[in-house]
């Protein structure tokens, strides 16, 4: 089921549209700036030479997930539901 949905999303280009919407929303609500500032702090603390993307990902992921506004999650979920409803109709 999960695989089928994922395939449908990619095939139709809907996945990219959702991604773009999410990107826009996260910029609008300041999430991106918050995360950027947080990453900068980590890099400053550890030094540019001693930090890898993996280190950053490990540190910011919990915070990043928590900071996504509920309204954004709801909107995305609603979009996916609508998309799936349309797909089954056809």
């Amino acid at each position: 089921m999960k695989t089928a949905v994922n395939q449908k999303l990619i095939e139709t280009g809907e996945r990219e549209r959702l991604r773009e919407l999410l990107r826009t929303r996260l910029i609008e609500c300041g999430w991106k700036d918050q995360m950027k500032a947080y990453c900068k702090d980590i890099v400053k603390e550890k030094g540019v030479e001693n930090v890898t993307v993996d280190d950053l990902v490990a540190e910011i992921t919990p915070k990043g997930r928590a900071l996504v506004p509920d309204a954004v999650k709801r909107e995305l979920l609603q979009r996916i539901r609508t998309f799936l409803a349309q797909q089954t109709k056809i």
Partner: protein, 515 residues
């Protein structure tokens, strides 16, 4: 993460070129054709554990996809000595010898080209790219090393304006314009072009640009706007002289002169109803839809007109409204909010509700109907077809009729955040009936997010219709409000602003769409 790529990627590129990256990116990362998208949908899963999530990477040496979280791509890299892999989601290259992602200008350029193509295919209008300075801009930055940092308690952008003799009507509008975010960004970014080659001193656009420089220079002494006044007198003759003038009239006249001096290209690449791409129209122009419904054949004739501001009636309703006379469309009109016919509006929302309500034109104003080719009574309804970036509302406090001239000083409440969704053409009147079923669905949540406005300036009038004084509240930056009374600037709270007797209200759209 190394800024200059890494030796492993460099040697890979010199041996095999960028072809494998190019193909991988076109098919499995960007998906630049429908066929590519199909391939991507079918084949993008980990070849070891068959999952399609958890940060899939593709080997740059052979056809192998593996997940990063499950470490299958790492196992592949170590066992086959294929030390480079591409992240399927972002197109970045991971080097297992370095243990991190590496930047590469050449590959990034390919990725960017593919992303643009894919965006077009997917119907995504224009993607957001962060600003990257050009060589010219880099040079400018190097030659001007002084940077101004703006802190929360900075007074930048705040400057009093000397009253030159009953010119408070001008000062309050200038304050509002100087603090219109998008207009400020336009002028401070030097985007304006002068069309008065022979005599730039006559150009109002140049004067605005000069004013922005004055306001954001950091000076704190009041500015003397004599040049602006002179230009206004020259270009809008009806405002010349030392009499008291109406701030609203000045606002519209200013936009008009600015629009004429901008000389936007008509009809080109513009979505606003004025079909002009000058900065004034890009920011202030919206489209008002007028639907006239014939009472005999129910035929609708629709026109769309551009507007720069919305003038809203106060006081008791003078017209017979259709909800008392309309035969069958009453449920959809006005009643949702439950506004009584005879009640005077007490809030901006009341005013807007009344503005967008169907109005019965009466038996004395019969219009020839295109549907049934006869003169019939009809109803007319105004709705917002296209919202402007800056929504300006004019509360008609000055009443001029044949019998009397008076000022309406009723308190009209207005919100700090305004949602225009209920007043859109797509939601009001007829169409709202058909779309009601899906109202609580997804269309609703999206459109609401896109029609939200935030208050950034209010012009107030104190006094009577004959004599009075204009002041303005402006938002300097987020939640920092100031009262501008000619040369005096004092700090204010949001509550001060919301409690004031507003005359002109300026709202800025919160979410801007790319065109």
């Amino acid at each position: 993460m190394s800024v200059h790529g890494c030796a492993h990627l460099a040697s890979f590129k010199s041996a095999k070129g960028t072809q494998s990256y190019r193909v991988l990116h076109a098919y499995f990362i960007a998906g630049i054709t429908e066929e590519a998208r199909k391939k991507k949908a079918q084949t993008c899963f980990c070849h070891t554990c068959c999952r399609h999530t958890s940060r899939l990477h593709a080997c740059l040496y052979c056809v192998y996809f593996g997940c990063y979280d499950g470490k299958h791509i790492r196992e592949h890299a170590l066992s086959k000595k294929h030390n480079l892999a591409v992240d399927i989601s972002y197109g970045t290259v991971f080097c297992f010898s370095c243990g991190d992602y590496v930047y590469d200008k050449e590959l990034e350029a390919i990725a960017k080209r593919h992303r643009r193509k894919a965006a077009k295919l997917n119907g995504i209008k224009e993607q957001y790219y962060e600003w990257e300075p050009t060589n010219f801009e880099l040079d400018l930055l190097r030659r001007n090393p002084r940077r101004k940092r703006i802190s929360d308690n900075s007074y930048i952008g705040l400057r009093g304006l000397i009253n030159l003799g009953n010119t408070c009507f001008m000062n309050c509008i200038v304050q509002a314009l100087m603090h219109t975010p998008l207009l400020r960004d336009y002028f401070l970014a030097d985007r304006n072009v002068c069309h008065f080659q022979d005599d730039p001193s006559m150009c109002l656009v140049c004067e605005m640009s000069q004013l922005f420089q004055e306001f954001y220079s950091g000076k704190s002494t009041p500015h003397i706007p004599f040049r602006l006044l002179h230009l206004v007198w020259t270009h809008a003759r009806h405002l010349a002289g030392y009499e008291q003038q109406d701030a609203h009239e000045f606002f519209i006249a200013t936009l008009d002169v600015l629009h004429r001096h901008c000389k936007g290209t008509n009809g080109l690449s513009s979505s606003n109803p004025h079909h002009c791409n000058c900065i004034v129209d890009q920011i202030f122009t919206g489209g008002l839809q007028s639907d006239v419904v014939c009472q005999a054949c129910r035929g609708v004739s629709t026109t769309i007109d551009p507007f720069w501001d919305i003038s809203l009636d106060l006081g008791p309703s003078l017209h017979l409204q259709s909800s008392t006379s309309g035969p069958n469309s009453t449920e959809s009109m006005g009643n949702d909010i439950g506004l009584n016919e005879d009640m005077e509006p007490t809030s901006l929302l009341d005013c807007l509700e009344r503005f967008t309500r169907p109005e019965h034109l009466g038996s004395s104003a019969k219009i020839k109907c295109n549907g049934c080719q006869s003169y019939q009574e009809s109803t007319k309804q105004l709705t917002m077809k296209k919202l402007p970036v800056v929504a300006s509302f004019h509360l008609k406090r000055f009443e001029h009729s044949t019998r009397f001239h008076k000022k309406i000083s009723t308190f009209i409440s207005f919100p700090q955040y305004l949602d225009m969704t209920p007043f859109m053409s797509s939601r009001r009147g007829k169409s709202s009936n058909s779309s009601r079923a899906s109202d609580n669905g997804y269309t609703n949540s999206v459109s609401i997010a896109d029609n939200k406005y935030c208050l950034f300036a209010v012009v107030n009038h104190i006094g009577t219709i004959e004599t009075g004084h204009y002041t303005a509240y402006i938002r300097q930056h987020r939640d920092q409000w100031f009262k501008c009374d000619d040369h005096l600037i004092t700090r204010a709270t949001v509550q001060d602003v919301l409690d004031s007797e507003g005359y002109l209200l300026f709202y800025h759209k919160q979410i801007l769409e790319y065109e």
